[in-house]
């Protein structure tokens, strides 16, 4: 049992493969911790209420809204942000595909879209169903309906959806066995 305190406390977060210590109040969201305390402003604050998906990051490989997460709750977890997706040999395939298909206009929702799409393809690969998946299906194809449903948690006010869709389909197609 940890001792409760209301002031600043030192916590450790594992972000993009690196252990980072920071002194914060319990009320600081994971989103604000990343942006304001860890110098990782790639993750964006859109609505700050779980409605737009701009703040999407990966935690233990799963996509979540970092605006509704308290940073202090996420100690000991593997957090990946847009800054951590790129490999030493270059950008992540999803980043390259977004560039190739012009999957953005203003770019504000883009880090969330990309993190979400990476998490989404893993969910698909692991057989996670969506609301449009027929029950009893073993391998799920990323149809247009599946893609729209699975990405509905990420809004793009510029309406770059066609490019976003094409970028995700390209990465999906390249990964398909």
């Amino acid at each position: 049992m940890k001792i409760p305190t209301a002031g600043h406390q030192t916590i450790t977060l594992r972000v993009n493969g690196v252990e980072r210590s920071l002194a914060i109040e319990p009320r600081v969201s994971l989103l604000d911790a990343l942006r304001d305390h860890l110098g990782l402003p790639g993750t964006k604050k859109g609505c700050d209420q779980g409605a737009c998906g701009a703040c999407t990051v990966l935690v233990d490989g799963e996509r979540i809204n970092s605006c509704l997460a308290l940073a202090i709750q996420y100690q000991g977890r593997e957090i990946i942000t847009i800054e951590g997706l790129a490999q030493t040999d270059g950008l992540h395939p999803m980043q390259l595909a977004f560039i190739e298909h012009d999957g953005f206009q203003c770019g504000y929702c883009t880090p969330g879209q990309i993190c979400s799409a990476v998490g989404m393809l893993d969910e698909l690969h692991n057989g996670m169903p969506s609301a449009v998946t027929k029950n009893g299906v073993d391998s799920i194809e990323l149809t247009e309906a599946e893609l729209r449903e699975r990405m509905s948690g990420n809004l793009c006010r510029c309406g770059a959806y066609v490019g976003i869709r094409d970028a995700i389909q390209q990465v999906y197609g390249a990964r398909k066995p």
Binding site: M1, K2, I3, P4, T5, A6, E25, P26, R27, S29, D48, Q49, G50, G53, T56, E62, R63, I64, N65, L68, A69, L70, I72, Q73, S116, G119, M120, E123, N126, G127, M128, P129, S130, A131, T133, N135, G136, R148, E149, R150, S152, G153, N154
Partner: protein, 335 residues
């Protein structure tokens, strides 16, 4: 957001102890996925002085029960529950309802117990400048005479016309689930349909969970064979929106006669609404479109519409009749 003390509990007893040791139990909140509570705290609707994080409690298992039913731990996350092979196989209605709620990101965070504890998305509840008996008892209800297109039509009171936002809970109401609760005086079990409350004169009390109590799991009875089921959600956009009306239905038809029917509605009441009147009117009768429409009319008979939500009465009737007709067709029954 007001500041608060934070404690992470590692076992259920110590979580309850933290609550009971607090001088003011109402100033302590259990925090699970946070998808609703963190938002409410940021808006100043909830202002706990102390948070007990329960996400590390060992309550994240889905277990088969000796009677063939299933026990779902309170900390099982929504996405995992909807993808669970046993749930998809035996209770497709539950998996379907969960997947129609929220977004993939939110379902990855949200827990089973937390889903039950969601508060209403009524705009006036969220607006601290508005009158709301749920937020400030006795202050009035601005929804009754306000913009009330999303509000309740069944079981309302002059004090509150808010709706319960969950999809998962509508399926649980139809499936005869029960809620296992741990409190200072031990364990108790509540039928799911008795867990949430109607507003009456105390709309500030959403559920029958008492101060100091913790939801530990949800039990589902064995799934009945031959029962066809479906969850239909009607909303303003195709995905990621709250229900205007939703219907969870399960039906068994034999030789054209209804042998079993379970029906629950979402988006229409302060709690997930088990449509008992419609069920009673259908048992033992012929599985015809006329009978389904008549049962829907019986259920919606007591509905009270406000300025903007009268459409929900007709929408609910038609959705009930449509879903039951489709299920009956699957069962080779409807004319």
């Amino acid at each position: 957001m007001n500041n608060f003390t934070y404690t992470s509990a590692t076992d259920t007893r110590s979580a309850l102890k933290l609550l009971s040791e607090s001088p003011d139990r109402n100033a302590v909140r259990f925090l699970a996925g946070g998808t609703n509570l963190v938002d409410l705290m940021r808006e100043g609707i909830e202002q706990p002085q102390s948070i007990v994080d329960i996400t590390r409690l060992p309550l994240a298992e889905v277990q088969e029960l000796p009677d063939g039913g299933v026990r779902i731990g309170a900390m099982v996350r929504n996405s995992h529950l909807a993808a669970h092979a046993m749930i998809r196989g035996k209770y497709p209605l539950l998996a379907q309802a969960i997947l129609m709620g929220a977004s993939a990101q939110l379902r990855n965070m949200a827990t089973t117990g937390g889903n039950l504890m969601q508060r209403t998305r009524c705009y006036y509840f969220y607006d601290r400048a508005a009158a709301c008996n749920k937020r400030v008892p006795g202050s009035g209800c601005d929804a009754v005479e306000g913009f009330n297109r999303i509000h309740a039509i069944l079981g309302t009171s002059p004090q509150c016309i808010a709706t319960h936002p969950s999809d998962m809970c509508v399926a649980l109401a139809a499936l005869d689930a029960s809620v296992n609760i741990l409190g200072p005086s031990g364990e108790r079990r509540v039928a799911f349909v008795d867990f949430h409350r109607l507003p009456g004169n105390t709309p500030e009390v959403d559920t029958n969970l008492l101060p100091g109590e913790l939801i530990t799991s949800i039990d589902l009875p064995p799934s009945s064979s031959g029962l066809h089921s479906a969850y239909r959600k009607v909303r303003d956009r195709a995905s990621y929106a709250f229900a205007l009306v939703s219907v969870a239905a399960a039906l068994r038809v034999q030789d054209g006669v209804i042998r079993d029917v379970r029906l629950a509605l979402g988006g229409v009441a302060h709690k997930p609404w088990r449509a008992s009147l419609a069920e009673q009117s259908l048992m033992g009768r012929a599985a015809t479109r006329e009978n389904f429409a008549e049962a829907a009319a019986v259920e919606l008979g007591p509905a009270i519409a406000r300025r903007d939500n009268a459409f929900k009465v007709e929408l609910a009737k038609r959705t009930i009749a449509l879903v039951l007709s489709e299920l009956a067709t699957d069962d080779g029954g409807v004319r």
